[in-house]
């Protein structure tokens, strides 16, 4: 056998799997995104036009943008804060375990749990929701957490995502933080830097690439956020997100063309984040 042929034999199983389960569905999705609801007639860019002009879609894009900013900023910064502060306490392991725990819960489960936390009962009747129980005890009227638009309900949903993902950010950042040579931090302190300066000029620069990886991972997650919204509001009261819209068009309304167009847009939007993520990850690996 000639050299240079055999490697195809070894690659074949992997290529076959990738081709069947990744490449083919992707190409097929892109193709049917140019066809009508039942994939029978060619409609050109009509589905993309709808995706970028229909009101429910514009709303979904807006909400994904809110998720992108608020969710990413809060998960990463809370994770960083916890990683740095918990490093200084004795009961670090316990606290970190508790904060990491929600990662073990599925998003659907988290959604159901938080539906109870946000539950609303008419004023004057016993509040079964945790938050409205507190609001009631303080003497205020109960609040429709998942109904008041545009901020309360969208933020209420984002909080669920933060609750689930902060632990992940914290664990990764904490591992990186512990990798900072102690001498460096001590040297900075001996040179007269206060704690804020140590954090700002030593810790942050050292953690920069880890923060970037964690942040891009969050961005990838947030662009395809679906479960939490589907379970808690199904996009009602202006909480719609792109992935939930895609599911509706596909499985509820049977508009395969539009659903595929949305999937393709989502796919294209995620690619840059994934590329950055991979590049950073490689850079980090190279450092080791």
């Amino acid at each position: 056998m000639k050299r240079g042929r055999a490697h195809w034999l070894y690659l074949a199983p992997a290529l076959l799997m990738l081709g069947t389960f990744l490449v083919y569905p992707t190409v097929h999705t892109i193709i049917i995104s140019f066809f009508g609801p039942r994939s029978d007639k060619f409609v050109g860019l009509a589905n993309y036009r709808t995706a970028f002009t229909a009101k429910p879609m514009l709303l979904a894009f807006r909400n994904n943008a809110i998720w992108l900013v608020v969710f990413t900023a809060l998960t990463v910064s809370l994770g960083l804060l916890l990683a740095v502060l918990l490093d200084r306490v004795r009961y670090e392991v316990i606290v970190k375990s508790v904060i990491f725990l929600p990662m073990a819960i599925s998003f659907v489960g988290a959604g159901v749990i938080w539906r109870f936390i946000y539950a609303y009962r008419p004023a004057g009747t016993p509040q079964i929701g945790f938050l409205n129980g507190i609001v009631n005890a303080l003497g205020f009227q109960p609040i429709g957490w998942l109904i008041e638009r545009p901020w309360i309900n969208n933020l209420a949903l984002i909080v669920v995502g933060i609750w689930v993902w902060t632990g992940f950010c914290m664990v990764i950042l904490s591992a990186a933080y512990k990798g900072i040579p102690k001498e460096m931090l001590e040297a900075a302190r001996i040179d007269g830097a206060n704690e804020w300066q140590v954090f700002r000029y030593v810790t942050i620069p050292f953690l920069k690439s880890t923060i970037a990886v964690v942040a891009t991972t969050m961005v990838v997650f947030v662009l395809k956020v679906f479960d939490i919204v589907y379970v808690m509001t199904n996009g009602a009261y202006d909480t719609e997100v792109v992935a939930n819209r895609m599911y509706k068009e596909m499985f509820a309304f049977r508009n395969y063309g539009l659903a595929s167009a949305i999937a393709t847009i989502l796919f294209l939007a995620i690619i840059p984040a994934v590329l950055v993520n991979i590049r950073r990850f490689r850079a980090q690996e190279a450092l080791r």
Binding site: G36, P37, R38, T50, A54, K55, P56, A119, Y120, R121, P122, A123, G124, T125, P142, G144, L146, I147, R149, Y230, N234, G235, A236, Y237, K248, E249, F251, A252, F253, R254, N255
Partner: protein, 420 residues
């Protein structure tokens, strides 16, 4: 040796497989995909028992719950549909007919079925769907301990006066709950359909359902507004509009039976009885709670009734499928089915004595005497409208979005959906 052993075992295997296949072919069977679960599924299996015993046909029931539309579509597209399936609604049945998926049920004798239901199950003059039971939707439920067994309000004006009178005393008249998970909003669509029938009449209602008039039509607007007069008025509904939006439809009527009651009237279909009894198992029908018909609004249109039903269609035409559907159309099968559930039978030969209580019997009488009957309109519309934009529109409207914006949005979805 090993080679011979291999060939012998191969031959044995093939023979065994052939025998097994033959054996399976001997056992006559039919697969049925249904959306029922829990007590409804149990009742359906009870209904099938006499049939299975008599014919020896094995009916394999596959319960897929509320995911039925998704699963049915996927299986159909993959060329592997069940023999028989419950349809989520007549609208989706029509879509399957248009794609050539369903077989016509011309072997059924439907002379004991009301024409209205036969027509609802037909496309182009051919029957494709068999109704096995119905729910009557135009009903108002009330606490009979407070208002008495014979309580009834017979005009819309009186209904509004009654509502206003309670509001003046600081009490909310209505229990409304629109929350229903991913299907939130549907109870509001029933309200609007009931009002539309009473203010615009059945012909305009049909045009609306078929999108021959736009959603911005004054008649549609008026129906929304009359619903809004109640549902958007914080003094008329228990818990205010936020209460309406966050209360689950099934929990909603329970507030009529608390002390003191949170509300006094609840507009909902026959099936809500099981939810009332679920929350308060000790309540007695008629004595503790009862019904009256949702009153007429415009006298010209009288008192039309709104309802829905359980629909069965067939993807394959086999002798077993025919026998099963003939059985399900019969009074015998429907008597078992409705007797267990408190739904209303379609077959007119079903003895009213099989109904579990007097309220169901009363609802059956009301349905029988109907001059005009219309099917739940949102179930007849394309899913993107009837199970999408309409639901969302109701939620938006009740939560305070202006009606013109809401109707324009549903219209935009309808233009896209009806065109395809």
């Amino acid at each position: 040796m090993s080679r011979r052993f291999l060939s012998i075992s191969l031959v044995t295997l093939v023979i065994a497989a052939l025998l097994a296949a033959f054996g399976l072919a001997q056992q006559r069977s039919v697969t049925v995909m249904v959306l029922w679960s829990g007590t409804e599924l149990q009742a359906f299996e009870e209904t099938l028992k006499p049939f299975e015993q008599r014919t020896g046909i094995d009916v394999k029931v596959e319960s897929v719950g509320r995911d039925l539309p998704t699963i049915l579509v996927t299986r159909f597209e993959a060329g592997n549909p069940p023999d028989v399936a419950a349809m989520p609604n007549p609208g989706q049945m029509k879509e399957f007919v248009a794609e050539g998926g369903l077989v016509p049920l011309d072997f059924l004798d439907l002379s004991d079925h009301p024409k209205a239901f036969v027509d609802l199950g037909s496309v182009g003059g051919k029957v494709y769907g068999l109704f096995i039971s119905a729910d009557l939707k135009s009903l108002v439920w009330y606490n009979a301990k407070i208002w008495g067994k014979a309580f009834s309000i017979s005009t819309w004006d009186n209904l509004m006066k009654f509502t206003e009178g309670l509001a003046a005393g600081g009490k909310a008249a209505w229990c409304i709950g629109l929350e229903s998970g991913a299907a939130s909003g549907w109870p509001g669509t029933d309200w609007i359909e009931d009002i539309m029938l009473r203010t615009a009449g059945p012909d305009l209602y049909d045009k609306w359902v078929n999108h021959e008039i736009p959603w911005t039509h004054p008649a549609v607007k008026r129906a929304f507004e009359l619903f809004g007069q109640i549902a958007r008025n914080n003094a008329y509904v228990f818990g205010g509009t936020t209460g309406v939006l966050s209360t689950n439809f099934g929990d909603s009527p329970a507030a009529m039976f608390t002390t003191p009651p949170g509300c006094f009237l609840h507009r909902q279909a026959t099936f809500i009885q099981s939810f009332i009894l679920g929350a308060y198992p000790n309540l007695k029908p008629v004595e503790d709670y009862s019904i009256f018909v949702f009153p007429p609004i415009d006298p010209a249109w009288g008192n039309p009734l709104l309802g829905a039903g359980d629909l069965i269609s067939a993807f394959r035409d086999t002798p077993e499928v025919r026998e099963l559907l003939k059985y399900l159309a019969s009074a015998e099968a429907q008597a078992i089915w409705v007797g267990k559930l408190g739904k209303l039978a379609i077959n007119t030969k079903v003895d009213p004595a099989v109904y579990p209580d007097d309220i169901t019997r009363k609802a059956a009488e009301i349905l029988k005497s109907a001059e005009v009957f219309r099917f739940d309109g949102s179930d007849l519309m394309p899913a993107a409208v009837g199970s999408g934009a309409f639901w969302k529109g109701v939620l938006d409207y009740v939560s305070g979005v202006s009606l013109d914006v809401v109707l324009a949005e549903i219209e935009a979805a309808a233009v896209a959906a009806y065109g395809k």
